[in-house]
């Protein structure tokens, strides 16, 4: 009988996926290993060689190469290689060379296959093609009770007070006082009790404390008038299974303080602004409120810390990247709106209508804490530079300077409303976009990548819709343009080779870093934009676009979901890194230093970048010139 090697067993117990094995399996594994030592520089696996052993690095480090000699990966203690040759039962494709003096434990193919076939966790961890590991790592984060990931249901304290439409305001006020609530729902009398109520509105309106003050008392109406006279109809409501965060967003968007909570169409509760604020003093609602009550730019500037606190808090409460991205975008948009209000106060009302545009990440609802400002101005077609430009130049400068002071640094590329080129009447913008799509050049393609994510934040927002519609209609199936956009989106490659720098420095110092925006989230957003344009998606958020792309079935099965997980994971690594910088009182950036990544994050990050790389290859193939879409 084989004898278990204590040190070998100990090692396996410390490293995934072996640590998940049952004691018996682990001990059998340890007693069956072979051990080999490789001097730095010596080959471990060579191209075309048959390999029937799985290599686990016990100490030292190795380099994995592509066939063309390009460095593919570096691996260190606890990492493994050689599994592909075993799983595919084919000769070695990626040669491996010892980078340091290296001791490896080898597991024979039979043992490997046995573990792989009989142990799901083990297989999941090892299987490089199976990206489910990534999904799990994202999903884990949702398993908690934090406010931002909680469902609306959790905030409901009591059943809502519902009164019939013929109730007088005074009766309603009495009932509200008795129940201690600040709002009441008005039921629909027309719905008969035996009717199929699924399609009928059970609730037709809401009356709040404020309505009684502003619509009854202030207007001098009689206490005896029916509640329907002062109620708000056209209710904004939230479904009980939606996230609290989504409820917050609805409140912000529709500027309401109360939301009825529905389960199917049945009202089961009411949540108020206060309900949320009670839990969250530093949430985005609170920050947004502070932004709109700031009296001048100095007061706005002072809110920088609160924005950061809000960001950190969301990260610590395990909000996902969509929640954080949209909360930050709402905040950024609010800064712009308030700055424009202040600008108009100072400069007087605009001589002609205009629309202030948010571009890029803010328009996509993917803004984070480290961000520069990309914006532009669309002016009324009556625009006459002689008469009007002085005003809009001043307005743009006021806003852009203000944004810079509030933490949104100037755009390096000059994509700001202060730039005359990006302060044009609607008809010029329409020409811009048409030209960019019909006759793309290297420069205009870059513009397209930024300007095609646009959103109106202030003024004539319909013009933003007009432009979005134009982009959607023109880009759709314009094969040459899409091919150019695709080629352009391939310029930023995922940093797979970067991981080669991960392993070595044992003294803990590591000067290399990776820009997670430039090499991670931006290339994914670019890629998703191309697919979204090709199917005429109306989505602007990358996740929303990707959903449309998935539904259009232009991607191979499963790839879209993988891409979504990859984006979420990379975005969260970036977000957590920024939150960590904030916690450490450092200036947050997008550069990840590998020393702060866990093995787990590293491994998943690598997978995520691999997915991006594969997705880029597919895009390259799909949009190659001349190929029929």
């Amino acid at each position: 009988m084989a004898i278990e090697q204590v040190e070998v067993t100990d090692f396996f117990q410390r490293h995934k996926p072996f640590s998940d094995l049952a004691v018996q399996e682990l001990s059998e594994l340890a007693s069956g290993v072979e051990i080999a030592y490789y001097k730095a520089g010596s080959p471990i696996l060579t191209f075309g060689q048959d390999n029937d052993q799985w290599f686990v690095i016990r100490s030292g480090a190795v380099e994995v190469f592509r066939r063309d000699g390009e460095l593919y990966n570096r691996l260190g203690e606890g990492n493994f290689f050689g599994e592909l040759a075993i799983m595919r039962n084919r000769p070695v494709r990626f040669p491996v060379v010892a980078l340091e003096d290296t001791l490896v434990y080898l597991i024979d193919a039979d043992t490997f296959n046995h573990l792989f076939d009989n142990n799901e966790q083990f297989a999941d961890f090892v299987e490089v093609e199976d990206r489910s590991r990534l999904r799990d790592s994202n999903a884990d984060k949702k398993d908690n009770n934090s406010l931002l990931t909680a469902k609306v249901e959790k905030l409901i304290g009591q059943l809502p007070l519902i009164l019939p439409p013929n109730t007088t305001v005074q009766e309603a006020a009495v009932r509200m006082t008795e129940e201690g609530v600040s709002s009441v729902l008005i039921s629909n009398d027309q719905v008969s009790s035996d009717a199929d109520t699924d399609d009928e509105e059970l609730v037709i309106g809401i009356v709040t404390d404020v309505d009684i003050r502003s619509r009854l008392v202030a207007q001098g109406l009689a206490l005896s008038c029916p509640v329907t006279d002062i109620m708000t109809s056209q209710l904004t409501s939230v479904q009980s299974h939606q996230y609290v965060f989504e409820a917050m967003m609805l409140m912000l968007k529709h500027k309401v303080m109360h939301l009825p909570v529905l389960k199917k169409s049945q009202p089961i509760g009411l949540i108020s602004h206060q309900d949320i604020l009670r839990y969250e003093s530093q949430n985005s609602l609170f920050v947004v409120k502070s932004i709109f009550t700031a009296l001048n730019v100095d007061e706005l500037t002072a809110l920088k810390g609160e924005v950061q606190a809000c960001f950190s808090r969301m990260v610590h409460e395990d909000a996902n990247s969509q929640m954080i991205g949209s909360a930050m975008a709402v905040i950024g948009r609010s800064f712009k709106q308030r700055l424009l209000e202040l600008a108009e106060q100072e400069l007087g009302p605009p001589p002609i209508p205009y629309c202030f545009l948010a571009l890029g990440s803010m328009a996509r609802d993917e803004q984070l804490i480290v961000t520069d400002q990309d914006n532009a101005l669309v002016l009324d077609n009556r625009f006459d530079p002689q008469l009007h430009d002085e005003y809009f130049n001043a307005l743009a400068n006021f806003v852009c300077d203000g944004l810079d002071r509030c933490g949104y640094t100037y755009c390096n590329g000059g994509i700001m409303a202060t730039n005359k080129k990006w302060r044009q009447p609607l008809k010029v913008w329409e020409q811009y976009f048409s030209q960019w799509i019909e006759k793309p050049t290297a420069e205009t393609l870059l513009n397209s990548a930024i300007f095609f994510d646009l959103d109106g934040v202030w003024g004539k927002k319909v013009w933003a819709d007009t432009l979005n519609r134009l982009i959607r209609k023109k880009a759709y199936k314009n094969a040459r343009f899409l091919a150019c956009m695709a080629r352009n989106a391939l310029l930023r490659t995922p940093p797979l080779g970067f991981f080669k720098d991960f392993v070595m420095e044992t003294d803990g110092r590591q000067t290399n870093s990776i820009n997670m925006k430039r090499r991670g989230t931006a290339p994914i957003a670019d890629l998703i934009r191309v697919h979204a344009l090709s199917i005429g998606s109306k989505g602007r958020n990358s996740f929303a676009r990707l959903q449309d792309v998935i539904e259009s079935k232009i991607l191979p099965p499963g790839r879209g979901v993988d891409l979504r997980d990859a984006l979420e994971f990379i975005a969260m690594v970036r977000i957590r890194h920024q939150a960590f910088d904030l916690d450490m009182k450092r200036v947050p950036d997008n550069d990840i230093e590998p020393e702060y990544l866990s093995d787990f994050e590293r491994k998943n990050l690598k997978d995520a970048f691999q997915i991006l790389s594969d997705a880029q290859k597919f895009m390259k193939y799909r949009y190659q010139p001349g190929r029929h879409l």
Partner: protein
């Protein structure tokens, strides 16, 4: 191996040159005739590789004993660990470990070191009941040990005691090899000028020089493994082609 105190360890090992010029294949052939104990006869009959055999082709076995003390006349073996290897691969499947009931009393001092207690040995087999198996695992292979004196002298003493015969065999001593490899370092003028000492040749320190991981010592099986890995590292470093004859490293 038995724990050596610091003073003993920092001295150069007592490398016996006695066997240097032995014609091992001839010696084994001769002894396979004269040996009386069947397992020992069989051991010799399996022979030994010729001294010119390249290192890469030699079957090896790393051997380690824990003992009750340092003197083979008065102390005895309490555990044996061994693992088969070649210059390229160590095979944990071919590893063995025995706890032995010693003839002499366990000394408290040694219990502290190897952790084998009186109750462990109470039910353990005596040396002679594992002797056949041990010889079987050694046959046809070259023994590797770190500071081979313990293993060679204790094994010989045990055989004398139980079967009244002697055993001799070529052996690779990783400690002696390390001393040899580090000798050039010792002579460096600059080193003596700087007052630097000869590098330690303790197993753990040797291993660290080759980037081998730290293993806890004084379990015969772990020490045998540690010694096997060290030899692989030494060969990879000093005989990377592995074409040198085995006689270059055995003694």
């Amino acid at each position: 191996m038995f724990y050596l105190d610091k003073k003993a360890l920092q001295d150069q090992p007592n490398v016996r040159t006695l066997n240097k010029n032995v014609d091992w294949p001839a010696e084994f052939a001769k002894r396979s005739k004269s040996a009386r104990y069947p397992a020992l006869k069989e051991y010799y009959a399996q022979g030994v590789v010729s001294p010119e055999t390249p290192i890469s082709e030699v079957p090896l076995v790393a051997l380690d004993f824990e003992t009750t003390g340092l003197n083979p006349k008065t102390d005895s073996i309490v555990s044996i660990g061994l693992v088969a290897l070649t210059a390229q691969r160590i095979r944990c499947k071919e590893a063995h470990h025995w706890i032995i009931k010693p003839d002499t009393e366990l000394k408290t001092k040694s219990v502290v070191i190897h952790g084998i207690t009186h109750s462990d040995v109470a039910s353990a087999p005596s040396f002679n009941s594992v002797l056949d198996a041990l010889l079987q695992h050694l046959q046809g292979k070259i023994v590797v040990a770190h500071h081979k004196d313990i293993e060679t002298r204790f094994l010989n003493a045990a055989l004398k005691h139980y079967i009244n015969e002697e055993i001799v065999f070529p052996c690779i001593d990783t400690m002696a090899l390390e001393a040899r490899f580090s000798r050039t370092l010792k002579r460096t003028f600059l080193r003596s000028l700087l007052g630097q000492k000869t590098p330690s040749i303790r197993l753990t320190d040797c291993r660290a020089r080759y980037n081998l991981p730290y293993y806890r010592q004084h379990n015969a099986l772990t020490d045998a493994l540690a010694c096997a890995e060290l030899l692989q590292a030494q060969i990879a470093t000093h005989y990377p082609e592995q074409t040198a004859p085995i006689s270059a490293i055995w003694c």
